[in-house]
């Protein structure tokens, strides 16, 4: 069964999608090295895009393939529309774009699948809530039924993948809350500046407190959120904020854990999300500095996932 990872933060611009793509590619590339040493099969990663901005979908599939997926309704909003509104018999599994990445590692394609999103997701999610509340459903009932549906659908998919990573939109939505409840671990990318830490505090105090409430039979998240410091700069201001965060965690005052790995702000990271047409590979896409931190993060994540079991 796949390990489920949600990448979320109420604040935008903290590197959620970059974390999703880089982590998915690192887990997939690492497994190619591992498979070549041990002869075991390569791990596969499924990225589930819950964000109507569809940035992760675009970064993985590219314009042409994403256009095809959207036109064919092979998106999360397509699934919700067809299954819940049109009452069609359709499974999430059948809508996944397998082997979507064109990035290779030592000549082997990264084993990454995608459940894409489209800009229509926001409209579909809102329309769904309106339609169901008009039909007499309470918000709690909608959340409960949607959780049940998506957890069953993800369960059916997860036997084909080793990791499922949810790219959650900024803010908070029904789908984000469901992903946070489903996930074995929630990664919260956080820039160590005042506004981002304010957002982190809001996330911990409002969202997490609400999720911990299991009224209505919904499960609480399986572990406390794990903070990942992103866009780290070697400045006194960032040093102070990171030290403060780590001190709070060490004193047991924070309702979260924090990865030792920090992702620095370096040139080349934003560009790495642009697709190029000529033979992209993992080592060329992520520079040596970022690769070092991504491999560290993948190892830390494995340990954190083991601790959840």
């Amino acid at each position: 069964m796949a390990r489920l990872i949600a990448v979320a933060n109420m604040k935008g611009g903290v590197g959620k999608t970059t974390t999703v793509i880089s982590l998915a590619e690192t887990l997939a590339a690492r497994s190619i090295d591992y498979a070549s040493r041990t002869g075991r099969r390569q791990s596969t990663v499924l990225v589930v895009d819950l964000d109507a901005q569809a940035s992760a979908s675009f970064a993985l599939a590219g314009d042409e393939r994403l256009l095809t997926l959207i036109r064919r309704g092979q998106t999360l909003d397509g699934f919700l529309d067809r299954f819940l509104i049109r009452r069609e018999e359709v499974s999430l599994k059948s809508l996944i774009a397998a082997k979507v990445s064109d990035v290779t590692h030592h000549g082997w394609p990264l084993g990454i699948g995608l459940l894409a999103s489209s800009p229509q997701l926001r409209t579909v999610e809102r329309g769904l809530i309106h339609a169901l509340t008009r039909g007499g459903y309470s918000l709690e009932k909608i959340e409960h039924d949607l959780f049940k549906l998506l957890s069953e659908q993800i369960k059916a998919v997860s036997s084909s993948y080793d990791y499922v990573i949810f790219d959650c939109p900024p803010g908070i939505s029904l789908l984000t809350e469901i992903a946070l409840r489903l996930a074995d671990i929630a990664i919260v990318p956080t820039v160590p500046d005042f506004l981002s830490l304010l957002g982190l505090d809001a996330f911990s105090q409002s969202v997490w407190t609400r999720l911990a409430n299991t009224r209505g039979g919904l499960p609480a998240p399986r572990s406390v959120p794990h903070i990942l410091i992103t866009k780290r700069r070697p400045t006194a201001a960032h040093d102070r904020k990171v030290a403060e965060l780590r001190r709070r965690v060490a004193l047991g005052k924070a309702g979260y854990r924090i990865f030792a790995t920090e992702i620095p702000e370096t040139e080349g990271v934003p560009e790495a999300l642009e697709r190029v047409t000529s033979q992209p590979n993992y080592a060329r896409k992520w520079n040596a500095q970022i690769r070092t931190h991504l491999v560290d993060l993948a190892s830390e994540l494995e340990s954190a996932l083991m601790a959840v079991t």
Partner: protein
């Protein structure tokens, strides 16, 4: 006292005491990769020095750095190490990466100057036959962002 750093000694000592430089792990990786890339793209390597370099740095490290080289640099290195082999001119990047590691590990030998079939100079490729250039996607006017389901 010294006027010039013994840089090799410093690098060796950094490598022997990584815990003292824990905050610089990423930067050290970047510098290490940059140094090896510089040597690989210097144009000064031949088969013997290339094999010695791979022997010194380790097969996996060099294989990864070859992956990180720009495609043109990989092809140029293959032409430098195996100047009489016609294949690197074909711009087959995956082949060039594999061939370089085969040469490094003694699984292949460079083509002999007299025995090798020198490729005939190719006529300029027509536009449709030219290999794809490195082209970045534009964020403006993408089809996907304005698309809707056909249903």
């Amino acid at each position: 006292m010294t006027l010039a750093l013994d840089a090799y000694d410093i690098l060796r000592r950094i490598g022997s005491n990584p815990e003292l430089f824990a905050g610089l792990r990423g930067a050290v990786a970047e510098v290490a990769e940059a140094l090896v890339k510089k040597e690989l793209t210097s144009g000064s390597l031949d088969i013997e020095s290339f094999r010695a370099l791979v022997g010194a740095l380790g097969e996996e490290n060099v294989a990864l750095i070859l992956q990180a080289l720009a495609p043109g640099d990989v092809l140029a290195l293959a032409r430098t190490i195996d100047p009489h082999h016609g294949k690197p001119r074909s711009k087959d990047l995956a082949w060039a990466e594999r061939h370089l590691m085969d040469l490094a590990l003694g699984r292949a030998e460079p083509a002999a100057a007299d025995g090798a079939r020198r490729p005939r100079p190719k006529a300029r490729l027509s536009r449709s036959k030219q290999p794809p250039t490195r082209k970045r996607a534009s964020p403006f006017g993408t089809g996907a962002m304005g698309a809707k389901s056909d249903d």
